[in-house]
Amino acid sequence: MNDSSKTNNVLWKSIEGLNNDPNIQKMKEDEFLDGVTEDFHPNQLSGISRRKFLALLSASAAITATACTDYQDKGEIIPYNKRPQEVLPGTENLYASTCNGCSLSCGILVKTREGRPIKIDGNPDHPINEGKICTKGQASILNLYDPERLKEPLFNNRKISWNDVDKNIIEVLESAVQKGKEIAILTGELTSPTTKKVFDKFSEKYPTTKIYSYSTINQSTRSKAWFECYGSYEFPSIKFDEANVILAIDSDFLVNEDSYLENMRLFTKRREVVGKTDFNRLYVAEGRMSATGMMADYRIRVSPDEQYNFVMSLVNELSKKGSNIEFDPVTKSMVSSFSINNFSKKIGKEKLNYLIDDLNKSRGKSIVYAGSTLSKEVHLAVNLLNEVLGNSNLYNYLNESVVILPQSSREDFDRLIDSMKNGNVDVLIHFGSDPVFYLPYDFEYQSSISRVKTVISLSESLNESCSLSHYVLPLNNQLECWGDSFVQTGVYGLQQPVISPIFNTRQKESILLTWISGSSSNFSSDNYHKFLIENFTQTVYTKLNSFSDAKRVWLSSLHDGVVTLKNVEKLHKKISQSWIPLLKLAKENSGLTVHLTESYFIGDGYFANNGWLQEVPHPITKVTWDNYAALSPLTAKKFNLKNDDIIEVSVSNSKIKIPVFVQPGLSDKTINIEYGYGRKVIGDVGKDIGINPLQLISKNHFETKNILTNASINKIDGTHKLVTTQEHHSLDDTFVKDFHKIRKIIQEGTVEKYQKDPKFLHEHKHELFSITNEHTYSGNKWAMAIDLNKCTSCAACVASCNVENNIPVVGKDQVGKGREMHWIRIDRYFSGSPEDPIASNQPMLCQHCDNAPCENVCPVNATNHSPDGLNQMVYNRCVGTRYCSNNCPYKVRRYNFFDFRDHFADEYYQNNLTALVNNPEVTVRSRGVMEKCTFCVQRIMDVRSTAINEGREISPNEVVTACQQACPTNAITFGDANNPDSNVAKLRNHNLTYHVLEELNIKPNVTYIAKLRNTHSEDNS
């Protein structure tokens, strides 16, 4: 038996599936989930709502009216009066800008059509994200068209004009200064140096101003640890591409932490199967199961509260084998008190020995990296370990982090809240931040806010802080804003508006500038624009030593979206060891440890009202529209818990009730909960979705951050249905037991095996033949290749596809019925034991089979084949028999059970504003038709017409699909398989390629490159 089939023998999708749960078995037998086809009884449907009634009324009136008019009438065609020079209707414009979705400030390219933004992609010129953008960034375009954006300034929930707002607030500010009362500005993490300058000017004009900065996602512990070691808060980025061995300590550095787009790119440079297979080896030591953990060659289960001891014992063990730095005598004795023996029992001797051996062998060529949710102590220990191993040459001092405004400390907030309570704060300005939601509950911020005379919230949409404010001032969306960013040394990003404000909103800096000017009449819509140019000229232009004048440099920089500043690499400093004596062996905690991590897709809650992001299945559990407490199978058994049960999690004085999800691979001591959910004041989409675990964080955790030890759980009555797409659209067949195992859907090997025998995958291949003549493709033949070595399951492809192809949001109840509409999904398989599984990911989309089984069952020929190898789906012909979906072995066809725009959340996304997000090149499908991946045919046709217009052939790699463009690791390749120069044609002939369900001889055109694991044996461990 070959080794890859050995792994496949234990392939499973969920614990229920592994245990042959009868419900899952039934799910696989039936084409549709329970109740999917039975809910169409007219008398069970809700009555006609008022809105629907009015819509019907107006529709019938419209029909009557049309009947009386000229039936030949085709309406009007309205050209511009004065056409803006750059806008040619029907063609797209791209503008470079900067994303404000999180503090990474990636460079973006915004695609606009007729002046409206329709797609966000990465800016290829940006040195950090190099043309890629994450899932959140992709879907953030929906925020611009959110029907519940704030549209007008409000004063005590009544509309008020901007002029009155400015006049009143300037008065309040001036009187506060006169009385010597504090003006407090609370902001999130600041990424813009020019905004900082606005703050400085504001403090100059109103001297009693104090500025506070807080964000739940931050690098403060890493930064502080760096300061104690090297005397600087600004830490370097890591050259992950140069590391042979990487040890990630509870860090999701590949998918959801720090500069993950950059990390992903650098990491997968060493996962290239074309040419030399010079793989790195990834060890992940973590308590939870992260997407990075799924990428690991060796995953080690260590609870986050034990990480400090773990790293220190590694320091001890490895320094015995030689150290790159001299230890002080105190350090030496400290370090020797940590023993690795405690861990070798838990982790298993073999894995641990591999780890120590590998780190020892690749000194100077390895890196240990700790997660940003960990405490300062772990970061200190990690810095020390890297020094012991001599890994400091992998620090990239050319791109250091920049701290524009440091996070405020616990003391700062204590002081602020004390003065609020004492009535010493007159004005409170929430500068785009939501402290009521984010600040630890026992600061009592919420209750002290009533003592402040004037509370002003600047926000894009209603949030928890707005509901307690006197003034609620609506802000521009990021695509309506000017701005800049400076988050890594050497890279200065610029942000430009791509649409003028849709509503009566203003930019937050512009509001402050008006107040600084001292008179409401001084407002002009371009005041911040001018301020930005001025600051650019003073600070950036002078550093560039350009021969051109400032204006020209400004315009060309704006065009590029990013300025690269020359940077002198700092010399590496010696690590200070003065902090070491303060550290002791961490106490062993007997209780459970709660690890709070940022949600993969809705971030810290900023994106909670974005339906696209709520509906992207979680990378590991595939749960949508919810968060949950993830427990290991053993812990769940111990407490007699199963999925959907509700538990009460208590940490010291605070408690939350949250549903359980049993997550294979978790450490038995860890409870992993994602935050960002449980927003109470937000739009209809995100309201009351999930539970807010931030309620568990007290101010005592300000330093230890998101690791809450000594937690206890107890089961309480009731259940909450969690909806997971994991067992939906399974590639299964009732007649073939253990389908995945036999049909080799996932094929893997190890690097060692591949190097010994490059053709190992094709050892047992059968010759396939067809009884009919094969069709030949003489022109282009479109095909895709997906490299499973590089897929991190980040789901950027899913979001990008949603935006590009007008995919609707269906809502939690519909996902529960298996009606999610995503054209591309990422299948996750586990192998091995439920306690310590090995994960395999596989993006699955329409395979555009040459002999497509869907085509010959369609009674109306609505799906058929094009001469360039595409499996076409024609919506107007489709009558909705769903035979095609039934006959599709990959289960990638999606049926519109409703007009989902109309159906979801009472027509939430069915309005003139949200309609603007639709891609005009793609049909918006209505109820009753089948749809599926088109290989972005609109992009193929666009390239084709350009080639025709220019009188040339399509070049081999010219067509780029939306998923390919988004994929941060370039795992997806697309092109013309008939052109031997194309990347995809080369990959199709690679030794590691296989097709899923090849033996059906349906000739799929999506080729998968088998994943190689860089383990120590020829066998997958």
């Binding site: 039936y71 009007e76 309205i78 009066n81 004065k82 209707p89 029907g90 360039d868 046709m941």
Partner: protein, 189 residues
């Protein structure tokens, strides 16, 4: 057996009536087909613009005004500023030009009546056709002779495919012309 009135009605009157109804329906259906497809549609426009004068007599190139035709999907109805390239000086005293100038100065776009239309699920691209050398007249008729534009040919899928299948016969002036694509996603997606 006695012949009743009912017999007569059933055996002769009814089939006759049905035949007449069916025949007239079929006849009307075919005769009116072109009209229902919009052939001959020639609505009054907000400004009485003459293609015969501009494109015919003065022989202004089509692309002077329809600037998108080579570049993208839409040929584009010219924006008012294109008209004003000439009409800031020429024929300023004419009533239609006064109307035009008024539109320009007020900044309001001109609500032209739409004449040619393909349904919105068909993605027609002007540029690929024009760049292959197909003349505007092949679809839009002899625009140079029209004072008021009217639709001359049908814009149905059948009409598109007729030309895509028999390109040589329909476009005799093009020496080298391939058949057009006939698969669904060439136009629908």
């Amino acid at each position: 057996m006695k012949k009743t009135v009912l017999d007569y009605a059933l055996k002769i009157r009814l089939p006759l009536t049905l035949f007449v109804i069916a025949f007239s329906f079929v006849l009307t259906y075919y005769i009116s087909r072109a009209e229902r497809d919009g052939v001959g549609y020639s609505p009054d426009q907000p400004i009485n613009y003459s293609h015969k004068l501009h494109a015919g007599k003065m022989a202004i190139d089509c692309q002077y005004c329809h600037i998108g035709v080579e570049k993208g999907r839409h040929a584009l109805i010219p924006s008012v500023n294109i008209c004003m390239n000439c009409h800031t000086v020429s024929r300023k005293d004419k009533s239609e030009i006064i109307k035009l100038t008024q539109y320009y100065e007020e900044g309001t776009p001109i609500p032209w009546k739409r004449i040619h239309k393909v349904p919105d699920y068909a993605f027609f691209n002007h540029s690929v056709h024009v760049n292959k050398g197909i003349e505007c007249e092949s679809c839009h008729g002899d625009i140079k002779e029209m004072d008021k534009v009217s639709q001359v040919r049908q814009f149905t899928m059948g009409a598109c495919l007729e030309c895509h299948r028999n390109a040589h016969d329909n476009l005799p002036y093009l020496e080298k012309v391939n058949k057009g694509p006939e698969h669904c996603w060439a136009c629908h997606r």
